[in-house]
Amino acid sequence: MFDLDPIMLARAQFGANITFHILFPTITIALGWLLLFFKLRYNYTHDEKWMDAYKFWVKIFALTFALGVVSGITMSFQFGTNWPGFMATVGNIAGPLLAYEVLTAFFLEATFLGIMLFGQQRVSNRAHTLATLIVAAGTTLSAFWIIVLNSWMHTPAGFEMINGQAHATDWLAIIFNPSFPYRFTHMLLASGLTVAFLVSGISAYRWLRNDRSASVMATLKTGVYLAAALIPLQIFAGDMHGLNTLKHQPAKVAAMEGLWETTKGAPLLLFAWPDGEKRMNHAELSVPNMASLILTHKLDGEVKGLNEFKGAHPPVLQVFWAFRVMVGTGMAMLLVSWLCVYSLKRKPTFIKPLAYTLVAMTFSGWVATVAGWYVTEIGRQPYLVYGVLKTANAASAVPSALIATTFAMYIALYLALIVAYVSVVFHLARSAGKPIPATPVTVLNSLLETA
């Protein structure tokens, strides 16, 4: 059974790891800023509800951060082991970007995290607020560097190839490569939406359990308003992102649209089953001319089809469906968040069906984010660095049996940790309203305080 293709295994392993990893940064990036918001609200209003909100969400932040760190460390090892050809070819560009991420962002957030989480009694309130700000800025900075690298892999710029190796010629062009502004904006908004739905989902859950303290209502409103404000921005940013991709990676857009032949007045497919073998779609359901309208802003604009890129386009089925999952989730987010705002404004109290819907959508941000990354990453195939390096040429020499064993170990670990994470988040929500039972920690705490 171990004659599995090592390249496929290395890809699957890397894909599984980064999928697991991205779940947690997506939350910590925006949750850091939201905690800062709670903290500042408390500093200005001295209303205890904001402190309660901070105290509750900082626990979830700490938990999420720990998962992000340990999975990130795994990533940093796999980068070299699974893709030696990547560093050999573009290491001169990827290296400095990764190094700057570690130096400027990882140390900053990791060090001040300690002060943010446990230093409240040891530093002034000002210093503690500052530590919270630094942690939030650190996670965002780390996202900045890694998205620079990732965007450069999609739209490489500012380099020349010498003897098969990329050498940097213009660092500003590398950092602000053509897809970077779109991808960074879209990712930060994705993070904001994920957190908005997490916060409103958990608050709605507490509300449904009759925990209707001022702090729960405050976080529910914060989450819902945040979601309602961000989702139109995200849809607009996504549209711009797509137009930019059309310019630089037309094959990816053709795969997202499931369009085989170059067409004037291309339809928007609502449903279809693309078939890579026969190079056609089954069971199409479409809106005529819509795709042309969205992509070219003309009803009969021409959109390039996949057949123009035979042999060098990504697998269609995955990209097509991942794109629909993302956009579908985005539309659901729009509907639900606006309905909730309407209800919160109009009704004296929140209504149950909406609360249940919010609970169901607690982790909907994860779904859209992972689907979005699949569109982006699978859509870049067969390239690892678009037009520069093919994925197959970057794979590792580690024997398949070894990869397969560790892969199985990682999958088991990740599944267990995701289950533990989600159940502990809900457990924290359940126990938040109640007075905390005496655990060794609280006992020790009171002992130390009296001592």
């Binding site: 760190v69 457990h427 006992v443």
Partner: protein, 339 residues
Amino acid sequence: MDNLANGGWLPVAFLALMGIAMLAYVVLDGYDLGVGILLRRADDAQKDQMISSIGPFWDANETWLVLGVGILLTAFPLAHGMILTALYLPVALMLLGLSLRGVAFEFRTKAPPARKVMWNWVFYGGSLLASFSQGLMLGLYVTGFAGGAAHWAFAILTGACLCAGYALLGATWLIIKTEGAVQLKAVMWARGSLLLTGGGIAAISIVTPSLSEQIFNKWFALPNLFLLAPIPIATFILFLTIYRSLQRLPTRLAAGNEYGAWVPFAATVGIFCLAFYGLAYSLFPWLVVDKITIWQAASAKESLMIIFVGAMVVLPAIIGYTAFAYRVFWGKARALTYY
């Protein structure tokens, strides 16, 4: 030394940087992994006290590993591929251990109380697995990935020895950061791990030259023998210092006198530095023993220069705010609360 002219100093600078990062990692994460290894021996309230002493620091401590591996990856990509491919399995085990340990920090206090016992075990198991695999990696690395039963036996020895060394770091750290019963227990743990560490280092020092001709020649060629002699002598003195201090501490601590409580930890850090220096001396300039030197493995000069300049600007800041964080949490550990 034409290697050093014409930008050839950059690989040396990066080697030094990587060395500093790795040493910082071993000492810093060493003490918190050590506390994890000792966790099993304490009762429940003491476990909380022990973990409070490392809670604010472990994440930043682990970042030194990311930096060390990052430099290996970015400055010496050729060696990175070779080393991490050869160490694929121990690395995977280490990552498993670090992951389990890292998440257990959070889960043990946030999961329903009934699960806490399980997460404490995970914390202990993860710490032990990570420490042992790091020792395993060191053993395999020093022998140039030669393979074979003798080399694996040696690697298992270094694995066990590193666990003892981390336990020593952890126990001596606890002497500084805790009080009461745990502190006295920590003195006992330190005594036990001191003997194991001492035995381990002696065994490794005897076996190492017999496993690699390269290292044998370096140690026993004539001027070197005298240049190296201070290392074992200083190590021996440090061992004695720790030993005597551990003899005196219990009565003093029981009387509430903290004088000299930091001595065992400081001396242990000294031992780690010396061992590291000896190792670096034995291996230089090889990145993979007998296979790749640092000059053969380095990346393009312009890219190294960019990272170097950045590192020179940012590292002092990192050291500065790390010192600040240690100052904030100076003194005895208090229970970890978020407010």
